[in-house]
Symmetry: D2
Subunit: 259 residues, 4 copies
């Protein structure tokens, strides 16, 4: 018996769909030789006169590409998907944790720290456009609090989300290190007492507002070769406030004017 | 003693900041005569040569406007904030739940249903631009599953996020009703057995893909007077899949061409 | 036509159900004269030989009691529910935000701060048992970091979850204040520079580990009249670590022995 | 220079601490030969007269055991930790995703599905006690809706959380399969049209309330060899309601009486 194909019916409403596909798919992949779960959104555009897309293609395609996931291979996968679905554009978002083994600054005790990364790949023109995002926890110490207080200074954990587009996709570990260098101090998984003393004093000697962290990241992104665009978002989980402090810089490079 | 004012220092890095302010502030406000908690992000731009913004102004301003919160009053608040901080632009996001008393379709049993709404107000030019968003749970029944199966059809809860800009900010209850009408069935808080029969059969008689819901919402938005832009995002928590089905339509109106 | 009543069928499996009902119901209620959304879980036990409970009763009952919600009225509601469903026990969980207007310590600038509260009410014996929980953000400054560092000390936002059972249900505002007094400093929504100096120095003069905060809360709970049980959970969003520091004390009072 | 050891000071408050340690640590581990991130809470008790625990030990210990993580090895790690910290008890919680390659029921198309697992290991007496938990998405079709409706039946995605203690720790894949067999239908990552027809009809032929799923799981747990305790929690993301349906059974085995 032939099963009817509702998706392939004509649609009379005349509304093309920008993106249709699947979301929240957690899938086992291999990135840089390491197995990891990654969370996917995979979509393609749909012409205005077609009723539905073919949802099973998205997972089937990922099954084919999961063994070696890179921005370039995601672009290739989108090319196939776009062709197979006769779409004008296709998009993939992959979000995954990544780990770096870090040594404590004095004791050299080793432990892993965890960041999150995301690749957004869009194929609408001839070549895929790749945006790489990292989410990096940081420490910030308030310059105002330090300046006005007789002793101490409020400090806190913050989080930076940096999205980046360049001539080539950057390494996520490089972006994470770039962000950590922009803060009052970086965080660790193992710290012994001499390390804790070091990190405490380093943060105190290096106070940063959310504005400072955003600008430090912006400067570093500008000085990277091949940067075309970035967006940096800094959030401080304020240790004296119920709310978070927040700053955003977004820029296309090279910049024409400075203010 | 004069406390030093670190924020007002000159900044040598030359990077203007698009947005700086506070995030994740839960504040008690009055909307449409009803008390409700709302979650705020409040930001303003900062010139490239200034070190920091004045964070305490944001909450102080909200304290002043909280008793009667509307998109228009948020715009007025931003005007004050922008002036007080000498900023080029200012933004406010307010997210809050809203309730509608709904009657069951047959028994007329009454109960409240809960939606979420968000106002995004941006003041960069002479007049604030307001985007109104609603998040609405819906029921969807799969047209393909119905067509190919001898009995039954898979259905599920879904969620629609509709963002809208028009000549005037719409009522959030109107947007929620518009979305509910675009689905296989709407949801309720109290259903007795005759109601459950009604809703089950209504969904079965009215199957919709995520694509259909997105298009139905698009058609309804286009037919509203004064629509300038909308974005509709439909997610189905698929009852046969681990992942969600997903569709997005975004459009500026009036549309020039149809496809 | 009579609709069949599947729920009232006999069940052959012989498994009584501890709790069955509804979860994640956001409902508009009035607490202490103020409107607020509250999130509910409402359940009742089901005998081993009955197929199903009657889900619509739960919301109908809440609709009746929503205008004045207290632990005592929730107990009364459970009594009705238990009788109506012929259950051996019934439970209600209500979680809601509450706001306190707080003045900055020096400038006296006023602003609202937000906490979360939860009432867990269980009716299994003759009288309902009420547990009151508050979730309170705090500031903590590390005693070790202060002791070993030449300047500064790492500090951070933390969160305390205190659950409490006493002879009478306590006020949630009293529990929140009890917790805030146990930390290095309390948090605010509006702080001007002289306030920031005050709070910074207060935290520096009053360092606390997660262990200290847990013990300070324990001591204060023990000294309250009528305390029968409490559980305090402290989490620090460490400003030098990727992970959180965490401590728990749970105790029935009066304690027999001290160690 | 000797850095002072604040943690080792005497504490005058006389409150022993049930658990103190670290939470929310995401760490790369190897489970069953596969790399995966796992989220940890690691704690130990602290005597009433000691000021603080030694936080860096927890991560150092995990660094040592991460290459082959099993419940037994976690128990061994806790034994070392307990001794090293002179604690009366120690606990570890590890939560991690796991994947199963599943074939569609008709087309045999293969794809991975993702579940979550958790090991809770407590060492207080001579031997560690292990609780294994799985979180499994399922499909449920309402028996009442099917019985009363002329066509169709509401169905939805649900989620089952099953915690289990037996004479030996069970395989998480076995527990996940046990849960899937208790529902109206199991979920898939890839389904072609003949599969969708199969799954739709299977769910329609096999309606289950949350009560039914909880009881089916309970029966299956009882029939496993060596079960000592379980707790099953079923949530339905109702496709006709704003809230979720919810059922819980918790039991120690063997049961003495049936009702």
């Amino acid at each position: 018996m032939e099963l009817s194909d509702t998706q392939s019916e004509r649609d009379p409403r005349g509304w093309p769909i920008n993106q249709v596909g699947i979301k929240n798919l957690l899938y086992p992949v291999v990135i840089n030789g390491s197995q990891t779960p990654a969370r996917f959104t995979l979509t393609a555009s749909l012409a205005g006169d077609l009723r539905g897309t073919h949802m099973s293609r998205f997972v089937a395609m990922l099954q084919e590409y999961r063994q070696d996931l890179t921005p370039a291979r995601l672009g290739e996968m989108l090319r196939k998907l776009k062709k197979s679905l006769a779409s004008e554009s296709a998009q993939a978002i992959a979000r995954f944790p990544f780990f770096v083994e870090k040594k404590a600054p004095v004791s050299q005790a080793a432990g892993f720290v965890a960041y999150e990364a995301q690749w957004d790949v869009i194929l609408s023109g001839p070549r895929p456009e790749v945006t790489t995002t990292v989410v990096v926890p940081i420490g910030t110490l308030c310059p105002c609090s330090k300046a006005i207080s007789d002793r101490g200074a409020h400090n806190q954990r913050g989080q930076v989300t940096l999205s980046y587009r360049g001539n080539t996709p950057p390494k996520v570990t490089m972006l994470a290190a770039l962000v950590e260098n922009a803060a009052s101090c970086e965080l660790y998984s193992v710290l012994k007492r001499p390390d804790e003393k070091f990190v405490t004093e380093r943060a105190y000697d290096n106070p940063t507002f959310v504005e400072d962290v955003a600008r430090n990241v912006a400067q570093r992104c500008e000085s990277l070769t091949g940067t075309r665009w970035f967006r940096v978002e800094v959030e401080n989980y304020e240790s004296i406030h119920f709310h978070d402090a927040y700053a955003v810089i977004e820029a296309h490079l090279p910049r024409r004017t400075r203010k």
